[in-house]
């Protein structure tokens, strides 16, 4: 690996190496820019470091101090954070979906949320690039939306839980398909085909999963980028309206890396936290925050579920948890809410299944232990739903500090009226689907959430947003944000492919601007 000295003024210093930062680091390095990418987490080697174990693999999550509050405080952890080179993609469920075209113009076309300053046709091209980069395994024909080419790798065979989703969807008259997944169905380079071990959400120990960690990071290294792990960014240094570098903590001390451009890619909590923690007298409310929107419009996605029990043995612990999907393009129907959702087959491992039993049903005692004996007969459907942007949902700074002495984030969240209607609709539809396949003892899991977004939204003017369509901040032209924070709305599918597509587009835009001397 090439290493830069602290005095080297690198072209791009990227903070965070997940779906946004890792992808951008790879592409910018391949374009010939000098790149250093910091990550607060470790650079794990999956073959040696990853156990098949829910508890041990908590080392992949962001477990530094955070505070949650609000009407429905969010559960933080595995489903919405990562602390490792490769970011949360190291333990993501590999679900790689495109947004619906209309979601990029939900305000003007659908009447809710905010428009994106991006055109879906341009995004369609970058989605394809991201799918090729990760060799997504998926169906020959995807049933919904504008035409797209067949996926690079064939779809995986389907496990029992996935088949049951299909049966239920067919009974209700809905289409279903194999979920496009970022785990290879045939060999690819050093990646063997997926062996269906089922611990995908706890890190893939065989490297079948195609995450930032084993796709873009190696490409970045090969192109001369430096990946600096265990490096916690504490403050972006700004002179006037230009960023000059970043103070970061590594090996017990603070250092300063000089840079011509700084890219923040820490996701929807750490990104606003760093911008707010970098306030100066000239930027008293934090960097890139003249609009006052840094930390605002924090979003999650609804991740409620319905579970039931089959007479048959399902053994949902085998394989990726979400082999099949039905996208519910529900605003074509007559509904009393905005937004869309999809649902997917499920395969919680024992601890998570215990959390669901205690969390959703309040079970404990002998009733809990007895019910857990039915583990191999359980089946479930879990939604990924759109949450509307609400300025009252925020990431702000608390007065308490973490192990680096940095003020910690306070995450304030409440479901809105529309969110609850959408969730209620999804729960009733998923319940009907489980009833149709003869599941017994059906129950809903009414509180759960996953992916994050917002807090540094992109937009059309310096007043309505933090960054422009190119992820460049309006206030500080050499400060960029490239992660899920820039989403003005969340859409009703998993966001990682969209984050990658935006990163690929941003790299192209940077190259074009550099060519014109506009950086």
């Amino acid at each position: 690996m090439r290493e830069y000295s602290l005095d080297d003024e690198v072209d791009f210093l990227i903070i965070g190496t997940g779906a946004g930062g890792g992808t951008l680091a790879g592409r910018l390095a391949e374009m010939g820019f000098s790149v250093v990418a910091l990550d607060a987490g470790a650079y794990f080697r999956p073959l040696d470091d990853f156990a098949s174990d829910e508890t041990e693999q908590e080392k992949l999550y962001w477990n530094d101090r955070r505070i949650v509050d609000g009407g429905t405080p969010l559960q933080m952890g595995g489903k919405n954070s990562g602390k490792a080179v490769g970011g949360s993609m190291v333990h993501f469920a590999m679900v790689s979906l495109r947004f619906r075209p209309e979601w990029f113009r939900s305000r003007s076309v659908l009447g809710y949320g905010a428009d994106w300053p991006l055109d879906w046709r341009e995004m369609w091209r970058y989605y394809r690039e991201a799918e090729l980069a990760l060799a997504i395994s998926g169906p020959v024909t995807y049933p919904w939306g504008p035409k797209r080419p067949r996926y690079p790798y064939r779809a995986h065979e389907i496990n029992s839980a996935g088949r049951l989703l299909a049966l239920g969807a067919e009974a209700l008259g809905y289409q279903w398909t194999e979920t496009p997944l970022a785990t290879v169905s045939a060999p690819r380079g050093k990646s063997p085909p997926c062996v269906y071990r089922g611990f995908c959400r706890f890190g893939c120990s065989t490297n079948a999963k195609q995450s930032t960690l084993n796709t873009w990071i190696p490409r970045a290294l090969a192109a001369g980028a430096e990946i600096r792990d265990l490096a916690m960014a504490g403050r972006i240094e700004v002179k006037g309206d230009r960023a000059t570098g970043v103070h970061f903590h590594r090996e017990g001390a603070w250092h300063f890396q000089r840079a011509r451009n700084v890219v923040v890619a820490g996701y929807a909590v750490e990104t606003p936290r760093l911008l707010l923690n970098s306030a100066t007298s000239r930027h008293p409310h934090g960097l890139a925050n003249r609009s006052g929107l840094v930390g605002k419009y924090f979003m999650t996605q609804s991740n409620q579920a319905v579970f039931g029990r089959m007479r048959d043995e399902v053994r949902w612990y085998k394989g990726p948890p979400s082999f099949t999907i039905t996208e519910h393009w529900n605003y074509d129907d007559r509904k009393d809410f905005f937004g869309g959702y999809c649902w997917m087959a499920q395969g919680p491992l024992p601890i998570e299944w215990g959390f669901i039993q205690t969390g959703a049903r309040g079970l404990w005692g002998e009733a809990l232990r007895q019910d857990m004996l039915n583990y191999n007969h359980q089946v479930g459907l879990k939604m990924v739903g759109e949450t509307l942007p609400d300025a009252a949902n925020t990431v702000t700074l608390a007065d308490e500090v973490d192990q680096y002495g940095l003020r910690i984030p306070r995450i304030t969240f409440s479901w809105g009226e529309n969110d609850r209607k959408l969730i209620g609709h999804a729960i009733s539809e998923m319940t009907r689907s489980l009833e149709a396949i003869g599941a017994e003892d059906i129950f809903p899991q009414r509180e759960d959430a996953n992916h994050l977004a917002g807090t540094a939204r992109m937009g059309f003017t310096p007043e309505d947003s933090v960054v422009d369509a190119d992820c460049r901040s309006w206030d500080i032209p050499n400060l960029w944000v490239c992660d899920g924070s820039v989403f003005p709305t969340t859409g009703g599918v998993n966001p990682s492919l969209t984050i990658q597509a935006i990163a690929l587009r941003t790299a192209d835009r940077i190259k074009a601007m550099a060519g014109r001397g506009e950086l």
């Binding site: 029992s160 049951l164 997926c194 269906y196 394989g319 601890i351 959390f355 404990w364 002998e366």
Partner: protein, 213 residues
């Protein structure tokens, strides 16, 4: 004897192709967890141990999963980090406050400590806690319903269902790298997965499970 998956012990796969070295190290460490309090005081431990026994009553005839010891270890490791929910303090402090509050509640209601309560009385008190009924100064920073749902149940569940004994009990395949699985369809299982007893004393399932490796 495990009646649902007779003769199945996920640990018989420990040295086989379903466990890699990282998994062996992680699970070995868990199995060797010290059985005495290091984070909690003796008094707190006594309450925690009793709470754990009531939340997950363990069957006789096999060594119990040391739930209290595993929670003690977890709080030692990360009791001052992670995410806290307002108004609760960080996890380790929240546990200490809640155990003290539960003990005080038991003394107030029944004139004796929680660990000394009979099963029915202990369960009734835990049910009251789950419903958020206890009030007063000791519960101020650990609202009983909130603590019960967000800290007490999850930590006990994680300790128990993260233990190989529980994996065997529910017929979970357990660690699975690098071998993974081949048979994914309904009612199919690989030779290295647990067979479920179809009736009391199902010898076929027992013979299968004795050969899981």
């Amino acid at each position: 004897m495990n009646r649902r998956f007779p003769g199945y012990d996920v640990l018989t796969k420990r040295t086989g192709p379903s466990w890699n070295e990282a998994t062996r190290q992680a699970v070995d460490l868990r199995l060797a967890v010290p059985r005495e309090p290091r984070f909690f005081s003796m008094a707190e431990w006594a309450v925690l141990d009793r709470v754990s026994q009531r939340i997950i009553p363990q069957p006789p005839g096999r060594p119990p999963v040391p739930i209290a010891a595993l929670i003690d270890a977890k709080m030692l490791r990360m009791g001052a980090a992670g995410t806290r929910i307002e108004p609760m303090p960080w996890d380790g402090d929240a546990w200490k406050l809640a155990l003290a509050a539960l003990e005080a509640e038991a003394v107030m209601r029944h004139g004796q400590g929680f660990a000394a309560l009979d099963d029915r009385t202990a369960d009734a008190l835990l049910t009251a806690m789950q419903k958020g009924e206890p009030a007063g100064a000791p519960w101020q920073r650990v609202p009983p319903g909130l603590f019960f749902a967000k800290r007490l149940l999850p930590d006990i569940v994680e300790a128990y269902y993260g233990h190989p004994t529980a994996w065997s009990e529910i017929g979970f395949g357990g660690p699975a790298s690098p071998r993974g699985y081949v048979r994914l369809d309904t009612n199919r299982h690989d030779p290295w997965e647990a067979a479920e007893a179809k009736s009391e004393g199902d010898l076929k399932a027992y013979r299968h499970n004795r050969h899981v490796a």
